[in-house]
Amino acid sequence: MNTECVAMLLAGGQGSRLGSLTFNNAKPAVLFGGKYRIIDFPLSNCMNSDIDVVGVLTQYRPYILNNYIGDGSAWALDQVTGGAHILPPYMGQKGGRWYSGTADAIFQNIDFIDRFDPEYVLILSGDHIYKMDYSKMIAFHKKQEADLSIAVMDVLMEDAHRFGIVNTDDENRITEFQEKPEEPKSNKASMGIYVFTWEVLKKALLEDAGNRESEHDFGLNVIPMLHENNKRIFAFPYSGYWRDVGTIQSYYDANMDLLDSTCDFDLTDRSFRVFSNNMSRHPQYLGPEAKITNSLICDGCIIFGEIEHSIISHDVIIKKNTVLKNAIVHTGAIIEDGAILENCIIGSRARIKGDTRFIASETDLMPIIHVINS
């Protein structure tokens, strides 16, 4: 079997900064934009980039994620020779262990990648919202005869200290890395998307695995090591919408971006669609007193109340005399008659009593009410 490029999607993170949204669900499986889950974005990108072998590395609370990915058919990954492969930690002859870092997770799956005998390996993570054609990045990698290409985007200089910053020469070759620098020398931030030449990566992973000092992390260990060894590392410039949704605030903001008609991230754009594992649900039912403005509503919802600037996932029931504003409501929640909610995230299958008056301020972090599951 020979596949030019295998994608490896790091989906094992806990996402502890998302609080109770990841209480019993892995971060990549957290709902986003109503019907989507965060992992839909990299998987749809793979589909839109004609990548048809994707290994999904899972570890933390994988049930919902595994179930959601299924046979990968939602992203056209149900093909005979490739497809979606869920890769949890496993036992071998010498015992087994958890994935101890991003690089270790790939290291433990060298055999999996070798089965496809690829030229390149694309490393993705499951916590970013963006649309990107990876085939362009792979073409760039080939053209530069690079050992490693890192997707980078320009961020505001005042935000640069929150990112991994790269400095490049005139030909986009990376000359220096700064991890969350106090004094950034550029505003080119790494997006955590890597194309490696597999031969180079495999050698580096074997070397890193033998290094007891290493934390087996791409950003902290493997990439600096390759840089020291004078490997050809290039920055692939990306411009467009990209958000890390690692915190409650960034998660909330990125959701609300979907309601901003001036935002350049468009879910309704059919030329680059975001695919998801769709549920079969009845259409939305809007009762006689329903009023919905500037909102996204999913199938399976029953709405009798008033909704403004909110995102409602499927199977949500919103009863009469309710007012929801700037809210995100996850699947299966029930908002009882009379509840008033502003600036908050309602967890899956939460039941909000009718006498609830919950009005958080816009700048304050919106608490999450009663998350059971998603």
Partner: protein, 370 residues
């Protein structure tokens, strides 16, 4: 329910008031309820009742049926243990009208029936809007050792009963006679679903071959004493779509929350072909109430007492009421629609006003531009 074969009949050739919607498709794939096709109800009812082998008889306009059903994956019918077959059908027309339940369609698929190990066959028409569990009827069928068990309902003002509809007479629980509407003696009408022993069905097919009469109702009428026929009562909501009026009425019935609840909010899901749509976007100027909306819509205007199918785009200043807008239509700015039914891909230009009447809505064919 493993011992059962499900058969969904074709019923084309009905009332001409739906002809604008049936140029490219069969009645079974008429879009319904914001995201469904009519056949989804019967097919889902069979699947939800645990029937694992289903044959759908198509008529001459196959493509929309094949496109809609695909491999049957959405109904869990694409498994090694469960299967969906699309079977060939024949015309139900005869001199002076239609054959209601046409055995010719089953004779043409005799090999399918014979090869299947199921001993009983559940047969239904494809144009019933209902959520029905066949298990209870099947129990009645087995407990009475019936040859045929007919699903019936007590007279229902919602159901658009026609002259050729069949009423059942009972002697205790056993069906003792059947009559057409005009000569009926009871108020129990046949709801176009029945269970029949396969051996009995094959015998009837042999008989039909000799007599040349393929009308099951006539066969039953002639042999009512020899056959053990029982009835199973349907107590829930049921509508049959066979005309523009019944299409409008049953569509608008969904806006009554109790009916919506019965059809869609129970444990049994009505399945349909899945599309990758974004959630529907209600914009700043949207005001949508008392309506059903599919996914993938972008709505700027006012919508009341209407059904918007998936991927409808509606621009600012427009007003839709009492209308059915099928998938992928685009409504321009400042458009006003009342009692309009438009098929897929219709475009209404800016500043158009269209006013139909309750019993005669304005109808647009697929892909119209107005």
């Amino acid at each position: 329910m493993k011992n059962i074969i499900g058969i969904i009949l074709n019923v084309d050739g009905e009332d001409t008031s739906l002809r604008d919607f049936l140029e490219h498709r069969s009645l079974s794939t008429l879009p319904f309820g914001g995201r469904y096709r009519l056949i989804d109800f019967t097919l889902s009812n069979m699947v939800n009742s645990g029937i694992s082998s289903i044959g759908v008889i198509g008529s001459h306009k196959y493509s929309s049926l094949v496109d809609h059903l695909g491999t049957g994956k959405e109904w869990s019918l694409s498994r090694k243990t469960q299967d969906l077959s699309i079977l060939s059908g024949t015309s139900n027309n005869r001199i002076g009208g239609l054959i209601k339940i046409n055995l010719r369609n089953l004779q043409d698929n005799r090999a399918y029936l014979e090869h299947n190990s199921g001993e009983h066959v559940i047969i239904s028409t494809p144009n019933l809007v209902t959520s029905f569990d066949f298990k209870n009827a099947y129990d009645i069928h087995l407990n009475n050792n019936s040859d045929i068990t007919m699903i019936f309902k007590k007279d229902d003002p919602r159901y658009n009963l026609l002259d050729d509809d069949i009423y059942l007479d009972f002697n205790k629980n056993r069906v003792s006679g059947i009559h057409y509407k005009k000569s009926r003696v009871t108020n129990h009408f046949f709801a176009e679903m029945f269970i029949i022993k396969k051996s009995v069905l094959l015998r009837l097919l042999d008989l039909s071959k000799i007599t040349g009469d393929w009308d099951l109702m006539e066969m039953i009428q002639a042999n009512v004493d020899e056959l053990r026929i029982y009835g199973a009562q349907h107590r829930g909501y049921i509508q049959r779509v066979n005309s523009l009026e019944s299409y409008m009425t049953s569509s608008m019935d969904l806006l009554e929350f109790e009916i919506m609840q019965e059809l869609f909010l129970g444990k049994k899901t009505i399945h349909t072909k899945i599309k990758d749509n974004h959630p529907s976007l209600y914009c700043d100027s949207a005001h949508v109430y008392n309506s059903i909306v599919g996914s993938g819509c972008i709505i700027h205007g006012t919508v009341s007492h209407s059904i918007l199918f998936r991927d409808t785009i509606m621009h600012e200043g427009s007003h839709i009421q009492n209308s059915i807008i099928m998938q992928k239509c685009e409504i321009g700015k400042n458009v006003s629609l009342n009692y309009v039914v438009m098929d897929k891909d219709t475009i209404i230009r800016d500043n158009t006003t269209l006013m139909g009447r309750p019993h005669s809505p304005i109808v647009f064919k697929k892909g119209s531009v107005i």
